[in-house]
């Protein structure tokens, strides 16, 4: 009875919309076999996409209460955190979601690099992926300012100053980004528009093409580009498993585990809202977010112009990677130079980020206290203990 009724509804709908064509297409895509070598690392892209959807949902919720003005932005975020029912949760999901999304996008990029997934005929997929990385980092950069607290205000000040070092157009870029000489109401408005209008649509457009290309060309094999790629039927015969349910289940498990770890972080290490932005009070040791730390730190060691040109060249090299690395091998062990360079690049970035993290701080090692200067370089400042811990009564001396 139910089956007959549903068949009738389906046929009625199909007569009017030809939905069977879409369903047939989706079915073919879902059952299309994927290569045998697909392991858990191949779920990072899906995790990133899931975080984009999560960011969109939590972002819309936040936008209902958020007010993009220098006078009210901070208060509105505080209101969301403290007064709106589940507002704290939405803000934490959005803030942590941004960090997780960027982390998994970076992991996904690293995975694609080491598996040679960018090679012929998937150059365009790689290019759109790099575009997605750029848009996601822009999401992070613009969203960071929106709470309008001290950290975001001065972090953005430092970030936009880096752009000002670009040869010829630096000053123009700075004014364009800030909407004036300093970070102000105007900056907040344009960052907000970028964050909630332009970047989401850019992301949707790029990710659509990226996914279509992945589905069209299939997942990259491990064999070299000189070996003809297998058709779906050949893949199936060679032991390839259908995309659904085998690989989808794998991705769903990873998504659930990542979500569980994000909830753990939210309930035990919630990201606080700091003091309201004060343009006249520069906090000590202002730094950008972790994903910009390595480039921020690298720029400290180089003359400004060379640093900016160098960063530009690195970005260009990453974009054009499939065009200058045209060796046929894909397996990481068969291209030792590329693999070594990739590892070196990652280690260098982590080292720079760590140096950036410890720069302008103080720490005690083996009874000696060190001050780390802006380069992260340690200077002994005496054999002293940690400075006296200050019981906080909310002001200066009491009794």
């Amino acid at each position: 009875m139910i089956r007959r009724l549903s068949n009738e509804v389906y046929n009625w709908l199909d007569d009017r919309t030809e939905i069977s064509v879409i369903i047939g297409f989706c079915h073919r895509q879902l059952t299309k076999p994927v290569p045998r070598h697909l392991n858990w690392l191949f779920s990072f892209g899906t995790v990133t996409l899931m975080f984009f959807l999560s960011q969109a949902v939590s972002g819309v919720f936040l936008m209902i209460y958020y007010e993009a003005s220098a006078d009210t932005a901070y208060e509105s975020v505080k209101y969301i955190m403290e007064q709106v029912r589940f507002g704290w949760l939405m803000r934490q999901v959005h803030t942590y979601g941004a960090n997780f999304m960027i982390a998994f996008l970076l992991l996904h990029s690293v995975r694609v690099f080491f598996y040679g997934g960018y090679k012929k005929p998937r150059e365009l997929t790689w290019l759109f992926g790099v575009g997605l990385l750029a848009v996601t980092l822009a999401f992070g950069f613009t969203g960071y300012l929106l709470p309008w607290d001290q950290l975001s205000y001065w972090g953005t000040t430092v970030g936009t100053e880096i752009a000002a070092a670009t040869p010829l157009i630096g000053e123009y870029l700075l004014i364009l980004m800030r909407g004036g000489e300093i970070i102000s109401d105007v900056t907040l408005t344009r960052f907000f528009v970028l964050h909630v209008v332009l970047l989401p649509w850019a992301f949707i457009a790029l990710v659509t093409v990226h996914l279509v290309l992945i589905r069209y060309k299939g997942i990259s094999p491990l064999e070299g580009t000189d070996v003809p790629e297998k058709s779906p039927e050949e893949l199936k015969q060679a032991g390839g498993k259908p995309f659904y349910p085998q690989h989808v289940m794998k991705e769903a498990i990873v998504v659930l585990l990542v979500l569980a770890s994000m909830i753990f972080m939210i309930i035990y290490y919630p990201l606080p809202l700091h003091e309201k932005a004060d343009p006249f009070n520069t906090p000590v040791g202002v730094k950008p977010e972790w994903y910009f730390l390595s480039s921020y730190q690298a720029l400290k060691y180089l003359p400004k112009t060379i640093g900016i040109i160098g960063s530009g060249l690195v970005v260009l090299a990453i974009c054009l990677l499939p065009f200058w690395d045209r060796t046929p091998a894909r397996h990481p062990s068969r291209r030792p130079i590329a693999t070594s360079l990739g590892i070196l690049f990652i280690v260098l970035n982590i080292a720079l980020a760590l140096l950036g993290k410890i720069s302008e701080t103080e720490m005690t090692f083996m009874g000696t206290r060190y001050h780390f200067d802006i380069y992260g370089w340690p200077h002994a400042i005496g054999t002293v203990e940690e400075p006296a811990a200050l019981p906080d009564t909310g002001g200066e001396g009491t009794e």
């Binding site: 909830i263 343009p279 180089l302 006296a388 811990a389």
Partner: protein, 307 residues
């Protein structure tokens, strides 16, 4: 020198242009540019791999950007160098209170005579009878309470601020300062001092506890502004009416009145903590759900014929 001149000229130009508030980021950018220029030839890998502490004189200058500190730290005469290390352990250092704030002089020069120029208000050893006024420049309420107290005018300014709080190693005020050996006991019986200590603890410890709890809770998004406001009001009341008055009866009255309001603040802290705990319980519930769901999917995947 040229760098200073350059900074000055740029600052003047921008001030005339009417964009004085852009000075902060520009100045920082100039300083960074100078740093970069000095180290342009240093190779990145060397920086990453290096870990060699430099000598303490250079370190002090970098840490404090203050020539009093860098010069005195390396003097052989311990009477002249020890104050630097004592100051490093003090609460004044994180509060950015440097040598010149109490001793005057010029911290921007390495020339001895210029650094100790009396025309720059240099005072090597402040007069003990003026110490309360020196400290009182910042700690006004404490000075106002101290001057008419039994230790102030009545006691000929004995003991003065430094006798209890130290001169260079100024640590955060704490009740134990009321019973410093060879200091208070010359005049006071231990029992009296114990009464003062107990009273101070009763008055201030709850405030410290409230603030610590509120700061922990705040990042969870549970409102704590009311707790912080009430704790600050209680603290201000204590400082204005009980701190440095050195009359037990006055202090008892203040602490008794404060203890009337502490239970209501404590209740707010407990309510906020309960809210945080509730969120954590719900969080664990969802973590459990997701882990169970992941486990079920994993089992289902294992059961697939192709797996």
């Amino acid at each position: 020198m040229s760098s200073q001149m350059h900074t000055g000229q740029s600052a003047g130009h921008r001030t005339r242009a009417g964009t004085w508030h852009s000075l902060i980021p520009r100045k920082a950018a100039l300083e960074r540019a100078a740093y970069r220029a000095r180290t342009a030839l240093i190779l990145l890998p060397l920086l990453v791999l290096s870990w060699t502490p430099v000598d303490s004189a250079e370190a002090q200058q970098t840490a404090a950007a203050n020539n009093c500190v860098s010069c005195h730290a390396d003097l052989d005469d311990e009477d002249m160098s020890l104050p630097v290390f004592e100051w490093q352990r003090s609460v004044h250092r994180p509060a950015d209170i440097y040598c010149q704030d109490c001793h005057g002089g010029n911290p921007s020069t390495m020339v001895e005579d210029e650094a100790h120029d009396v025309e720059m208000d240099f005072v090597g050893l402040p007069d003990p009878y003026d110490v309360h006024e020196l400290c009182g420049e910042c700690h006004q309420i404490q000075m106002n309470n101290y001057v008419p107290s039994p230790h102030g005018l009545e006691g000929d300014f004995w003991p003065n601020c430094m006798d209890c709080h130290s001169n260079h190693e100024v640590v955060f005020p704490q009740a134990s300062m009321i019973s410093i050996p060879d200091n208070c006991e010359d005049c006071h019986e231990q029992a009296i001092m114990d009464d003062y200590i107990a009273l101070t603890d009763r008055g201030l410890e709850p405030i410290v506890e409230f603030r610590r709890a509120a700061e922990e809770i705040r990042s969870s998004g549970v409102p704590v502004d009311l707790i912080l406001t009430q704790a600050t009001l209680a603290r201000d009341a204590y400082v204005e009416r009980a701190s440095h008055v050195f009359v037990l009866e006055k202090m008892v009255a203040v602490v008794d009145s404060l203890e009337q309001i502490y239970p209501s603040i404590r209740e707010k802290v407990e309510t906020a903590r309960t809210e945080v705990d509730t969120r954590r319980r719900f969080g664990w519930m969802f973590i459990g759900l997701f882990l169970v769901a992941a486990g079920i999917l994993w089992l289902y995947r294992r059961s697939l014929p192709d797996a």
